[in-house]
């Protein structure tokens, strides 16, 4: 049934309690200002030492459409989406009835009294609260009243769940920083909610937050801000973008951080340049121009932008120019569901552009990896002189994740094989595309290098070792085979897979990106509920290395778990293992692609169904 853990009895009654292991969903209207209330609620729980995660399910709209924010508290530090909601805060008349209908029996509903929801069903616990009325006690101004009604629910929920008032107050202070007036008003609203719940509501649900010590030293951050920080601390200098959800906040965070931390002390001038381009064609063109001239340059986009970049990315591949592109994936095809998450661009990005092209892809699973790959992406792009994609998604990029604090990058950055005038003077017969080291990676020079032999001509048309135009078949084949060799070198230079193998396991799971968190939790469910041990390989990059084949060889059945319809990573794995047909038969899929982040319960059910097919 559910994953709730029943933990002991409350002294007062016979009711079992569910402590620090449930989800609260707040249903509001987009643009109603509920964001700060939700983050205050989440942060208060976090400050009580209880692991949390927050997911915003929002429409592609600025104002007026329904939006849901889900806070998960998990004593076991599970931070994937939890499929079932345990407490609903129903503030949106448009969806309230449907929201209540979708709950499982026994859930709790806090709702705006005037919505009269208590007749919808009789197997959930209802807490009616006259929010609009109560808000009048806090302030006269109608517009602010609406915002404060949202803060009142934080008070009500806080009281019902035994969240410490002091921690809510601290969260408000953090949220509104120095704005004393705002802090005062919001604290007042919280008190109104607390008082109301205390006097008028009788606790009838089992949910409770209890102080723990699991969040000390941890941070709360979204993946886009984490990626921005990783890039800033690893020397990004030229940033271009064209706004698109869910990628915009990566560059917006980067701008905010760099304005503080990347201003030259002596001159007050910027050690970076940011350009909001006219479209994604220009954004990637600028990145390639900057990469060609030697800068660490990135752009951030999502599906439609990736499609537009296709022609230029092929140029980057063929002419061998470093570039970093963050693809914060959203649901396609076409405009798709712009504010929902997916892993639907694996194939199209891997092979982006016409002709024989393939690219290095990185798949961060966590905000910490977004930070880390902020540097790794540049090191690889410059080492391999090629576009590198960081394949995040909306869930990772825009939702709030708990993490250990990020570690300062101590190691120097890798700027790849660049010859300056001095180095060039020592080289005989330099050719821009000559493979002197046998790893497929040539040596490049940067424009502006003061040496008569430094110049070469970059082109997307056929070229030989000396970057001269050619249509000779043998020249073309030579270049293409060297590029292939270079890609092979990349296999063992990209972040390798992370393995977690269990003795005696018969099955293996393969995942990547945000699917990771559902897999972690699902493995525990499989072990605890079905006595099914599963080893796990988490892919962190393409191209694959040999560990993939070794892993698949070891297990009877291997499931590739991903968030798209066409089993895109599985298709690539099949290609990779095509020389071992006996392995192909072991492979199957668990797919999840409705736009909501994947959850453990769905994965577990699907795996159990495939492992134990009904007779």
């Amino acid at each position: 049934m559910s994953t709730q853990t029943l933990v002991g009895e409350k002294e007062s009654g016979a009711k079992p309690t569910v402590v620090n292991d449930f989800s609260i969903q707040v249903a509001t209207i987009n643009g109603s200002g509920s964001q700060s209330s939700n983050s205050v609620l989440m942060r208060a729980i976090f400050q009580m030492g209880v692991p949390v995660s927050g997911k915003n399910l929002f429409p592609s709209n600025i104002q007026g459409l329904p939006t849901w924010f889900t806070i998960r508290a998990s004593k076991d530090s599970y931070i994937a989406r939890k499929r079932d909601v345990d407490m609903l805060v129903a503030m949106n008349p448009q969806t309230a009835r449907e929201d209540v209908q979708s709950l499982k029996p026994g859930s709790a509903v806090v709702y705006e009294q005037s919505l009269g929801l208590d007749n919808v069903r009789d197997d959930v616990v209802f807490y009616p609260v006259p929010f609009a009325e109560l808000a009048k006690d806090v302030i006269d101004e109608p517009r602010l009243r609406k915002l404060l009604a949202n803060m009142i629910y934080v008070g009500v929920v806080g009281q019902l769940l035994s969240i410490e008032k002091e921690e809510i107050r601290a969260a408000i202070t953090k949220q509104f920083k120095a704005k004393a007036k705002a802090v005062e008003l919001n604290v007042k609203a919280i008190n109104v909610g607390f008082d109301y719940a205390e006097k008028k509501l009788t606790k009838a649900d089992p949910l409770e937050i209890e102080r723990m010590n699991e969040t000390a030293g941890k941070i709360l951050i979204d993946g886009n801000a984490a990626g921005a920080l990783g890039s800033m601390f690893n020397g990004v200098t030229v940033v271009t973008w064209y706004p698109i959800t869910p990628s915009s906040s990566l560059v917006e965070s980067l701008i905010d951080y760099m304005k503080v931390y990347r201003i030259d002390e002596k001159t007050g001038k910027a050690t970076f340049a940011v350009v909001q381009a006219e479209d994604e064609l220009a954004a990637i063109g600028m990145v390639l121009g900057a990469g060609w001239a030697g800068a660490r340059s990135l752009t951030s986009t999502s599906g439609p932008g990736i499609s537009l970049m296709s022609e230029f990315v092929g140029l980057g591949y063929f002419a061998e120019i470093p570039a970093v592109i963050w693809n914060i994936q959203r649901v396609g095809p076409s405009t798709g569901l712009p504010t929902r998450t997916a892993q639907g661009d694996v194939l199209s990005t891997y092979l982006l552009s016409h002709g024989d092209t393939k690219h290095i892809l990185l798949f961060p699973s966590s905000v910490a990896e977004c930070f880390e790959f902020g540097g790794t992406s540049f090191d690889l792009a410059e080492r391999f002189q090629t576009p590198v994609f960081v394949m995040s998604d909306l869930d990772l990029g825009m939702n709030i994740w708990m993490s250990d604090a990020f570690e300062y990058p101590e190691k120097p950055i890798d700027r790849g094989k660049v010859l300056d005038a001095e180095a060039l003077a020592k080289v005989d017969d330099w050719g821009r595309y000559k493979d002197v080291d046998g790893d497929g990676i040539p040596h490049r020079t940067l424009p502006g290098t003061n040496h008569p032999g430094a110049a070469y001509f970059t082109r997307g048309s056929g070229h030989n070792d000396y970057a001269e135009y050619t249509e000779r078949p043998e020249d073309y084949e030579k270049t293409m085979m060297r590029l292939s060799r270079k890609f092979d070198t990349a296999r063992n230079a990209v972040p390798g897979p992370v393995l977690d193998e269990v003795d005696g396991a018969k099955i293996g799971l393969i995942g990547y990106g945000t699917t990771h968190w559902a897999i972690v939790e699902s493995r525990d469910q499989l072990r605890n509920e079905s006595d099914l041990a599963a080893s796990y390989l988490r892919i962190r990059a393409l191209p694959f290395n040999d560990e993939l084949e070794a892993f698949v060889s070891k297990y009877d059945r291997v499931y590739v778990i991903e968030q798209n319809r066409d089993a895109q990573m599985l298709q690539l794995i099949r290609l990779e293992l095509a020389h071992r047909p006996e392995l192909l038969a072991k492979l199957s899929s668990v797919l999840h692609f409705a736009g909501h982040p994947i959850d453990a319960r769905s994965v577990t059910e699907e795996l159990v169904a495939q492992e134990y097919p009904a007779e």
Binding site: M232, G235, V238, G289, I413, P447, T458
Partner: protein
């Protein structure tokens, strides 16, 4: 050896202020059709760079796709070149200049490359006033794809096949003036003296310099009925003014009568000298520039010379207020904030 008669001293090699010969500015042999206007423009570029004494290693040559866009291979072999994708050279140039502000960016494009597929990037380049010399080798057709009309072909002009162009032409100079370019000129490949002078003026300028140079395609658009042929150009060219140029390193300061010439100081200290011909025209007046272009369009005149010049407007690099050194090669300690910065950020997220 001592018996050899005394040789007369070799004539001194002609060199520029850097000690480089004109040959040092040459490129690979051209593969364009013999007589193509684009080759003549490449030759004027070689001459202009040589006479100006630009260090070849500081130049970045950028282009899109087309016969015109091939030409950066045919001049300045000692400069880095970048033949990008069709119509998208402006973005590549923008990135390169952002990465290294010391580069002298020279973009070469065609009328198809700029006025059709690339018009989006072109207008935004103008708007940003990126420091670049942007040359359009304008022949009214797509040379490389064998002679289809381009968007700069004049209304009513005829292809060799007899097909008549029924759409009005895009006026690239008009666009440039309107959208923010700060040095706008039109010229004719058949008038090398003017081409070279306008190029040098553009080198001295700091901002987007657009040179729309009518450059006949001898293979597909040089027949009677074309308004981009050598004959048509020779017969119809009308100079707006007589343009002269005095480089910053030239000691001689020429004096002109205020009434007959105007001298405009450029960013690097060089000057443009504008000698009055028939009309009294002030290229620093934007409104007048647009009026001139509308007027000449109505009268179907082919005016060449300096159309617009603004020496005051900030260019993109100045606007972004970046450090003086190239961003591309800043040392790690200047582009990786200290550990205390990360500690700060982490603390705020706890």
């Amino acid at each position: 050896m001592s018996t050899t008669a005394k040789q007369p001293p070799a004539p001194p090699k002609k060199v520029n202020r850097l000690g480089l010969a004109q040959a040092d500015y040459r490129g690979k042999p051209s593969t364009l059709c013999k007589g193509c206007g684009h080759d003549s423009i490449s030759n004027q570029l070689i001459k202009a760079f040589y006479e100006y004494g630009v260090e070849p290693h500081r130049v970045a040559k950028l282009s899109g796709i087309g016969c015109s866009s091939k030409t950066p291979a045919y001049f300045l072999s000692k400069s880095h070149g970048f033949n990008a994708v069709h119509g998208r050279m402006p973005s590549v140039a923008t990135g390169a200049v952002l990465a290294n502000r010391d580069l002298v960016a020279v973009g070469v494009s065609g009328d198809g490359d700029t006025a059709s597929i690339g018009i989006g990037q072109f207008v935004h380049l103008l708007r940003r006033n990126l420091p670049i010399v942007y040359i359009v080798e304008n022949n009214g057709v797509y040379g490389l794809t064998k002679g289809q009309f381009s968007a700069t072909a004049d209304l009513g002009s005829k292809l060799k096949t007899g097909v008549v162009n029924e759409l009005p032409a895009v006026d690239l100079c008009g666009l440039a003036v309107e959208l923010g370019a700060t040095y706008v000129a039109r010229s004719f490949a058949g008038d090398p003296k003017q081409v070279v002078t306008l190029m040098k003026g553009a080198f001295g300028h700091s901002g987007t310099a657009v040179l729309d140079i009518i450059s006949p395609c001898v293979t597909f658009n040089n027949h009677a009925g074309s308004t981009k042929s050598y004959t048509w150009g020779k017969e119809n060219e009308e100079l707006i003014q007589d343009v002269g140029f005095v480089p910053f390193f030239d000691e001689i300061d020429v004096d002109y009568d205020e009434g007959e010439a105007k001298k405009v100081k450029l960013h690097d200290g060089s000057s443009i000298i504008l000698k009055k011909l028939e009309r009294d025209y002030d290229p620093t007046n934007r409104r007048k520039a647009l009026e001139l272009l509308l007027d000449s369009d109505e009268k179907k005149q082919f005016l060449t010379g300096l159309i617009y010049l603004d020496t005051k407007k900030e260019n993109l690099i100045e606007l972004l207020d970046v450090v003086d050194e190239p961003l591309a090669t800043l040392p790690l300690d200047r582009v990786r904030p200290p550990k205390s910065a990360l500690d700060d950020v982490m603390e705020s997220l706890k």
